[in-house]
Symmetry: C2
Subunit: 244 residues, 2 copies
DNA sequence: AAGTGGTCTAGACCACTAA
DNA sequence: TAGTGGTCTAGACCACTTC
């Protein structure tokens, strides 16, 4: 085994054993060089990993601090693309029923968690598995007014609206918030989806953010309870590990 | 800006521009040293990040290869603990109503997605925010028969059952599957939770895995639609900063 | 002013790969 | 056998923090 990996392991074991209290100062690079009789480069290579694992924090001018005894665990869900948020195939078709600008009054503003009075471009319609099949859900898409120009692209269909916005306005989605709740299926939607009015339904709301604190798009999907369930898997992961 | 970050950016831009075909050999460290008139250490510091981002692959003896033009994106959700799967406070109290072994016949087996005929230790009861407050949900916990001994620990209350199992049987949760669906609130639960029978409800099912392909615990929680919504946030992550 | 970690140089030897 | 990336040494200067 190479020297810096030995050092890394030695130091990791010392930390794990509790030789340093959390928050304590860790020996300086110079001290470690002397102790192990290696060059500073070798010590730094060893410390680098320990820092990545979240065991140590280094601060130029101030020193190295012990953050944790072991590489803590967490659980992660990873999606290669936002398409994974849906677990029905991406090849559903969207049949637009309404399209136009709306102002979010009290009720809608609460549903969207946006400020009352803001204006949105709204698309609403049915999503189907096959063009003449049964509806999977009723979808409402709200695009913040500044990005209303996507309306032109939308005709092309197919692609998700957030993709069109990203491309047209050179935005990059930084975060997506998803909220899942239950409600009774509203009357009009029930008719369109051919389910019992007021029957239980799943509502997923997704808010798409790009740098700003305000979302540039919000989508609502109303799924009949019998036709959809949202599933996700979370895997245990080591903190700060880099290479698979 | 420091030299190695400049180099990193320059090289990243060259790769992005398509100056090298995917799979192509990238210039050797020596060549880059000559070209930019820096020491090898500085070049290596620049290449290190590009490799972490998945743009380059380096192989001792063989050279450096171009893997991709841009750092590729994915989205991750991170939870520090499994408690984060709930977004109500961890300090809810659980009032047990039923406790005993059950055999999963057809209906239950379908609900749990387990094989018909398997036996489970079942806890069922109400979860409340305050000991005498209104119920947040009706919860059913199914523990695989081999781990039925947690029944003794359970009396202690407080801690989640999967924690007790982990401790008692030295298991480590490797994966959690969560499914969220809607349904009409069953009669008995509606009464206990003081909501309208058959009113819309959210059902979350969580299956806990540890190495085995079969879960060691499954939980079902029935939430009145008005009292609970499941929220999660997904952040964009650069490739290589997290384990996929 | 002294000490820290961050950056950088100019060398060196090694294990490994490919011709 | 020549060249690659991986490791390591022994220096150096810097920006920064702390006293």
């Amino acid at each position: 085994m190479v020297r810096y990996k030995e050092l890394r392991q030695t130091l990791a074991e010392e930390i794990a054993s509790g030789a340093y209290a959390i928050g304590d100062r860790f020996p300086t690079e110079h001290e470690l060089c002397t102790r192990f009789e290696v060059s500073r480069h070798t010590i730094r290579e060893a410390l680098r990993t320990l820092e990545e694992q979240g065991l140590l924090a280094r601060q130029a001018g101030s020193g190295t601090t012990v953050l944790a005894r072991s590489p803590g665990q967490h659980y992660t869900q990873t999606l290669d693309s936002l398409g994974g948020l849906f677990d029905y195939a991406a090849d559903t078709t969207f049949e637009s029923r309404y399209e136009g600008y709306v102002t979010a009054r009290e009720g809608l503003a609460r549903t969207l968690s946006c400020e009352a009075g803001t204006r949105w471009l709204r698309f609403a319609g049915v999503r189907r598995l096959a063009p003449d099949g049964v509806g999977v859900c009723w979808t409402e898409i709200f695009v913040a007014e500044p990005y209303g120009a996507v309306r032109d692209d939308q005709a092309a269909g197919g692609k998700p609206v957030y993709d069109l916005i990203q491309k047209r306005f050179q935005l990059q989605i930084s975060e997506v918030e998803q909220r899942v709740s239950a409600l009774a299926m509203p009357l009009e939607m029930a008719k369109t989806l051919e389910v019992e009015p007021l029957s239980p339904a799943l509502l997923t709301r997704r808010r798409y953010f790009a740098d700003s604190a305000e979302p540039f798009e919000i989508s609502l999907s109303f799924h009949p309870a019998s036709r959809y369930a949202f599933t996700q898997r979370l895997r245990r992961a080591e903190q700060g590990t880099n290479r698979p």
